[in-house]
Each structure stands twice: as C-alpha cells, then as structure tokens.
Amino acid sequence: MEHEDIIKELGKEKLIGFYTKMVKIRSFEERIRFLFLEGKMPGTIHQYIGMEANAVGVCSALQKDDVIASTHRPHGHAIARGLSFNEIMAELYGRTTGCCRGKGGSMHLGNLEKGMLTAIAIVGGNLPIVVGMSLAFKLMKQNRVAVSFFGDGASNEGSFHESLNMAAVLNTPSVFVCENNQYGASTSIKKVMKIENIADRARSYGIEGVIADGMDVIDVYIHAKDAIEKARKGGGPTLLELKTFRFCGHSRRDPGSYIPKEEKESWQRKDPINNFKKLLLNEGLAGEDELDDINNLIEKELDESIIFAQESPEPAPEDTLKDLYATMEVPE
C-alpha cells in the first residue's frame, strides 16, 4: 500500500493518537532529564529520545491483552503501552505509588495488568522470557501475542540466538522487535557485527526477518501489525528490525561524544516527531493549534505527575523485606 492510502485507512483519530503518544514520550524524557540534572531524582536513566516511533508504532498494533517486554531503556515502551505518567514518575522517584512500588526504578518499569512485563535490565534478558510468555498463550489456546523490545547490541547475546530458534521451533506467537539505534552504549554496531541488517539473522532460524523505518511511526505500525497478526494467527515469530537512532546519550551521564557529528545530524533530520507533525499538517489532518493543545495537555499531565510522585509516600525502610516470596516471609 502507498503511504497516502495507508494514512487514509488509518484515519485521523489513530494518527493523532500516534502523535500524542510520541509527544508524551518525548516530553516525559525531556522533563525527567532536567529533574535528573537538578539532582531531584535518584538512580540512573536511559532515555528514548529519537526512538519514539518504535514504541508507539509497535504498541499501537497490539491488542489489550497482548504483552510486551522491555529493557534498560523502558520509558518509551511503558508510555506507549499505556502506563500512566503517575505510576511511572512515582516509580522513578522510588515511591510506593510507583508501578513497582519503588522496588524497580527506571530500569524495571512495568505493569503486567496493562500488558507490560517488569522491564529486564540485562541486555538480551527479556527475549527468552517472551518466548515463554507466548508459549503460555499457545498452550492456553489464547489468541495473544508477546513482543520483545531489544537493541542492536542485544542481538549479539546468546540469549537472542536461543530465543529466536526456540520460538521458531515451538512456533510461538512472538514478535522480536530489534530497535537498531546504531549503538550499544558507546559502541557502534559496525564494530560489533559484520552484517548490515540484523533482520537477516532471522534466516538462521527459518523465520521471517523484516525491516522497517524506525523514524516513521506509520512504517513501524504497518510492519508491526503484520508481524503481530501473523503471530496471532499461528504463523509463528518474526524478527522485526527498526532502523532508528537515539538523540541522547546512552545513559544520564553520557554526552555521546563517540557519535560523529554528521551521523547525529543526518539522523536528527529524520526526527520521528517533527516529520510526523509536518505530515499531519500537510495532509490537513490537524492544525498547529490542535497539536499545541495536545502538547500543552501533556505538559500539564506531566506537571501533575511530578507533584503526584513527589507527594507520594516513601516506602518504609522495612518494606525492603516485602514482595519477594508470594508464600512466605523473607527468612532471617
């Protein structure tokens, strides 16, 4: 289908929804960056700026009872999957109202009730778990799909290999979304793999490997939808590579000096939000005012979530001893 037709098919509401979600992520990330710089937030963070189209495109193609699994860089996934600013923000502040009651922090965001597993901060660590979640769906004969988000770097982990192969032979309803943002921490993928497309690795498992433009939410959405619906229909797993880039450092402390200026700039021209905004305006799907209103609403929601988080109760020190076992107290 041509881009134009697709836009028509998706319709205004959906597209504005994409925009809103992407801006939510971007605004959230910008805001907490300052909170961190000001020393108001504990811990460390890995941000999603520049990659918004990935999470939004994929999660928009999911049904309510599907499940995603995320990484050390989960803010975007959490927001796209529908976790509230409040529960995320409170978790970053380590409060009892956080989605993990303050036990998880930035790297372990999640809320299974909303279709997101507690994020796994071990690179490659969520892929085998996603195989298991989708295996459960298959065994329980539920038409649900499990999606793993992971990075280019993760695709060099043994867990990637074992997971894709196992999903292939068990024919589980899994989608493996590789967000290829060209770097794993400070390391360019060119240094750590001799192939151009990670999607090609799908061949090793006899499954389909697909590439989409991770800077274009519509392209991501379409390809994700195909993969997800294929999985749902019993067609087995897909490896979906999204070509993308992060416009921020790897983590809070990282100025990203290892990225050549030209590379950064060329990707910045593909800013998934700017370009999508232009498209909305050009196609007459929204006016500047309308979009500004969205932005303003989000900023307000953010303000409120910060207040919510800051005013939420700190856990008691002894809460450390809760939540480990379902069936017993922590033994002395």
Partner: protein, 338 residues
Amino acid sequence: MILSIAEALRKAIYDEMERDDKVFHIGEDIGIEGGFGGAFTVTLGLEKSFRDRIIDTPISEIGIFGAACGAAVMGMRPIVDVQYGDFLFCAMDQVANQIAKLRYMSGGKIKVPVVMRAPVGVTGRGSQHAQNMEPYFLSCPGIKIIAPSTAYDAYGLLKAAVRDDDPVLIFEHKLLYGAKGARKEEGAIDASSEIPDEDYTIPIGKAIVRKEGKDATIISHLLMVHHSLQAAKTLEKEGISCEVIDLRSLWPLDIGLISESVKKTGRLFIVEESPKQGGIGAEVSAQIAETIPDHLISPIVRIAAPNTPAPFSPVMEKFYIPQPERISKEVRKIIEEY
C-alpha cells in the same frame, strides 16, 4: 506401591499434570519417542499421556529457563529439566537474575511459579557433570531449594513445588534415582519408598529426623543422608548415639528443628557432597553459632568434599565424596576429644 525416586517423581509429574492443565514440563530429550525420558528416565513415557505439555527443546538452557519464567509469569506452571545440574550455569542469568528477582522487582505484583529439576552428584563423569550446585543457590534470595533423599519425599516435595507460587529448585541425586536396566548408575543406593495412594505433599521448609539420637546431631541432604545413616549405624554399635536430620529443604532452612536437636546433643556435624568452601555447612554452622553457641559442647564440624572440582578417577572420586567411614571417624574423634 513401592517406587524408586525416578518413578516417584514421574508419578508426581503425571499426577500434577492431570490435576492441573497449567502444568507442563520442558527440557532437552524429555519426551522423545524411543528416547531416555530425560537423562535419568524421570519423564519416560509421559509424552504418551501429555504430548502437548511435555515439550522437547533445542539444547538451549538460556532459552529453556527463560521460557519457563515467561510462561510462569503468564499463569502456567512450568517444570524445567536441566539434565545435569552443572548446566544451570549456562542459564544462570535467567535463574538468578530473572526468575529469582522478577517478583521482587515488580513490587510483588507478579509471581513466577517455576519448578526447576536439577540432577546433582559426583558420579564418574568428571568435573563438569558432577557438581552439587546447592551452595550457588543458597546465596540467591528468591528461590526455594528442596532436595529429597527418599522416594516418599520426592513425590511429596515435587508436588508441593508445583503448587508453590514461588520458584522452587529441586535437586535430585543421580545415585538415588533408582533408574533400572541400562540406565542404572554405578554405586546407586536404594531410596525407594512405599508411596501411598493419596494426594499428599511435603511442606517446603521442613526438615525431618531420620534417626533419633542423643550424643551428636548429623545434618545432611540427598546422598549424604544415606551415608550419614550408615555412619550412625556404625557408631551406634560403638555406643555413640547420633541424631540424623535430613534437611529436605535447603531454603528456607528448618533451623528450628536443627536447633532443637543441637540443644539436645550439644554436637553438630554437617555433611555435604559439595566442596566445603562456601557450602551449605557454612550457613548452617553460622546460624547455629550465632543463635545457640552455648549449647555446643564441641566445635561444629563440616564434613564436605575438598575444595576442588570433582576428579574423574574412581579412586580419587571415592576420596572426594564424604564416605560413611569418614563421617563416623569425624564424629568419633570429636566425641573422644570433648
């Protein structure tokens, strides 16, 4: 009916799978027609009754444990078979970083009811198919650890594990399975029991006194229970009365029962098949030393393998594994001295 441990485990798996269709078993070579039923025959034939829920996998330990973890989170009741406990290292991240921590990291909002079956024991195969892996997991909060030394316990503990909402690691001993025919292990010990025809479980976290005594307490698990009982028998003839406790659960530890016994006997011996360094004995010893040191008439003694990997040659292997003679000698020595 009288069953070996392998048979009792098989029956437990069968019964649990029949009771609850959320239970499934996953591993390498566990349900292949004409195959082994796992490395130690435990799952032999189960695929005939539950083809969809006996899942054979590639040789991919990360994948297997991860699959179990994910399925458990979504409400299934997976049982994992790892062929040899030594291969737990291949899946260590999934076990220790994911399965053990997921619930905690989620703030208690999810649960991970995985059962992990790991055969252990030093059995003529060299260092990489020999390890008693228990100590590695004793250092890992979030996992319950059980270790049956009789078929009766194997049945009841495995069932309890499947029904438990937390991750449970069950260590099974290669020399206690009682596998028959071609797959019989050299040096195997009969651990079969009468298994009553009823739905019983054995509570996780409860040790049991295998033999009462008043002069010394010997704590052990798995094969070492049998060696300890043999030592106790020898000592009994010499007038030394030993209480032998089978831990059955390594975490949580039934420190209550151990303490009761030590208060009575005043002497504690901990026997284990793994190297002494950082072993189970260290933890038991430390707990007793910090809670009831005044009840000890003599120093606590840890009887363990030496601080080396397992050697291959039968001569060295025999030296490596704590033998009944060594146990009785150590007890005798202490009793004579104190």
